[in-house]
Amino acid sequence: MRTILDLERPTNADRVWLDPPSPHTLIQRIAVGDSAALDALYALYSRQLLSYLIGQLTDRQLAEEVLQDVMLAVWKSAARFQGNSSVLTWLLAIARHHAINARGRRKLPLSTLYDSAVGHDPELSRSLEQDADRAQIQTALSHLSAEQRETLELIFYHELSGAEAANVLGVAPGTIKSRLSRALITLRRVLRKEDLSHE
């Protein structure tokens, strides 16, 4: 396992990067205490992480606080990042667990609708309403469970693969598929203006 002794301590010259360093390089730099690398990593991922955290916490101020906690965790644990996953996946996993903790502190609900509550849609083949514009679909997204929204966001916004999303969420890849499928079913129902409460 890599230790801090395996990496040379950065010099000031090291902090002048001629080429943008890779995310993995940034983590290595952070691991040896290079705060400039932390800045660079933050510049690279803070927008994505903040968006994710706001989605999880629904409170921008709290999300910003948690984002700082996430970066603190990165600062402290970078030496033990083993590179088995992408940096983004690792960061999202950290962010997720900090968000869970923050929700626990604030007693925010973990989930509004459990995946299985949606059930099976016999009209699986029906398409989304053709006239459903983006705004309508964005509104319809609020009818999804927290897990479904989170999964959609990891797949489409953060562009994680199924395996990566499963890793971040700590679930089986099959669960990702089922969440996506159920999310699609729910969105179709909502866009057909069916009342979910009557399901």
């Binding site: 933050y42 030496a79 973990l110």
Partner: protein, 456 residues
């Protein structure tokens, strides 16, 4: 599932979100392209996913107009704040004046002693983390700590008996031995992905559930990592299906347990790969969770979760039978994310059934307390389950023809200081010539521990 598509159709439909997201490999993308060229249904669905993807991206972008500046105090983070957080944790955990808290004096003393030792070790091991600017390096360690555990040999029907100690060594140098304690002090999870934890304390759950042949001796080990904590249960006698080779490691990760975070309360869940050096590859976490919390208001709260891929009963693709009957527990779901004692919860089990001849299945859910008493036992009998051609001969590909969802309703007892496990079992029973007999091919029955928890 659409009949026109069959199983292949499901495969393509599963691929479409990732196709739209652009995260498929080139080969996978080319295959989907080829399929879409001849499948109007999937083209329509892909268009749906594209609309959803656009909306999700727009939704995510709408939330973030600017990002705040990086807090400069991050890079001057010092051990002081670590001490603050750890002290806060100790205050929360060991506050003897907390109302309604049931803490025996001996347990309190033991726990306090444990914490003192744990804190000393934490401070020592903290030096492995990148050193903040301006803080002296106390020690530099090049060897990860190793962990060993001494378990008791006797069953303990209640969680009040201290029966285990944790020993941590760095290299050949012992640096920490926990005092036996009677309670798990609580911690918060570390991110998935595997940072080596630092063990600080442990306690023990030991049960002899009637449904299982061997007692479960579970050590609850509290870890701390960068000020966060991570609790795992290691099972000294793991419940494994027949014909499963024993794990290489003596201590097999068995459950994952998380409890109240030091700076707050509530329940969180981790189901993920072990971060314990030496034990990580032996067996991934098959199960679940306990959350007893550390605060009197929260101590009756816990969470359950489940992940399928690590089921011990899951049979590798190349070992699945070509014909016969088989049933696999695919998913366990709970209707509540946070559960309190006294709550009635719905537990749903989703099974994959593949069978070529007619079978009867008996699915049982049991809630068993620490004394081995069955508090709840419910059965779902599935009779005359028969599907044709569940397996493709010669291909050895798992082709489940039946998905069966069963829901059980159980009430979690509201009683202090007891421990419980939740077990789901399936017996594969065939009715033949009027005689109920177990089928060889399915090994008769399997039991899965899907949850373990205790109340304070």
């Amino acid at each position: 599932m659409n009949e026109q598509h069959g199983h292949d159709g499901q495969h393509w439909q599963d691929q479409l979100p990732f196709y739209v997201a652009g995260t498929l490999s080139e080969a996978e993308r080319a295959a989907v392209d080829q399929h879409l060229a001849g499948c109007a249904m999937c083209r329509a669905r892909a268009a749906d996913w594209q609309r959803i993807a656009d909306a999700v991206r727009a939704d995510a972008l709408d939330r973030v107009q600017h990002t705040p500046p990086l807090n400069r105090s991050l890079t001057t983070f010092s051990n002081d704040s670590f001490i603050e957080r750890t002290s806060e944790m100790s205050t929360r955990i060991f506050n003897p004046t907390a109302p309604q808290r049931r803490v025996r004096l001996s347990g309190l003393i033991g726990a306090a002693a444990m914490f003192t030792l744990a804190f000393a070790v934490l401070m020592l091991l903290q030096s492995q983390a990148p050193k903040p600017i301006g803080v002296a390096v106390l020690a530099q360690l090049t060897t990860q700590p190793t962990l060993s555990m001494t378990a008791a040999n006797t069953l303990t029907p209640t969680p009040t008996m201290p029966i285990i100690s944790v020993h941590v060594s760095i290299g050949q140098t012992p640096c920490f031995s926990s005092e036996p304690i009677d309670r798990m002090p609580g911690a918060i999870p570390i991110p998935l992905g595997g940072n080596p934890p630092i063990a600080t304390a442990c306690s023990m759950l030991t049960m002899q559930p009637p449904a299982l042949q061997t007692p479960i001796n579970c050590g609850i080990i509290t870890f701390n990592n960068d000020g966060n904590g991570h609790v795992e249960i290691h099972c000294s006698t793991p419940v494994l299906p027949p014909n499963t080779p024993p794990p290489a490691a003596t201590l097999t990760p068995f459950f994952v347990i998380t409890a109240a975070p030091p700076s707050g309360l509530g329940s969180t869940i981790i189901c993920g790969p072990s971060s314990v050096a030496g034990a990580a590859t032996a067996m991934p976490y098959p199960y679940i969770v306990v959350d007893a919390g550390a605060n009197p208001d929260e101590c009756h709260t816990f969470s359950l979760a489940f992940t399928r891929e690590q089921l011990p009963g899951d049979i590798p693709a190349n070992q699945r039978p070509l014909f016969g009957g088989i049933m696999m527990l695919r998913e366990v779901a709970f209707d509540k994310g946070i559960i309190h004692t006294g709550d009635t919860i719905s537990v749903s089990t989703l099974w994959e059934i593949g069978t070529q001849i007619q079978h009867d299945y008996d699915i049982t859910l049991q809630l068993i307390n620490g004394g081995g008493q069955i508090l709840t036992e419910q059965h779902h009998l599935l009779t005359h389950i028969a599907f044709a051609s569940p397996f493709e001969r010669g291909i050895q590909q798992w082709k489940p023809d039946g998905i069966n969802l069963n829901s059980f309703s159980i009430t979690i007892p509201k009683e202090p200081q007891n421990q419980y496990i939740l077990i789901v079992s399936v017996s594969d029973i065939n009715q033949e010539n009027g005689v109920r007999r177990r089928l060889k091919v399915s090994d008769g029955s399997h039991s899965f521990v899907i949850g373990a928890f205790y109340t304070q």
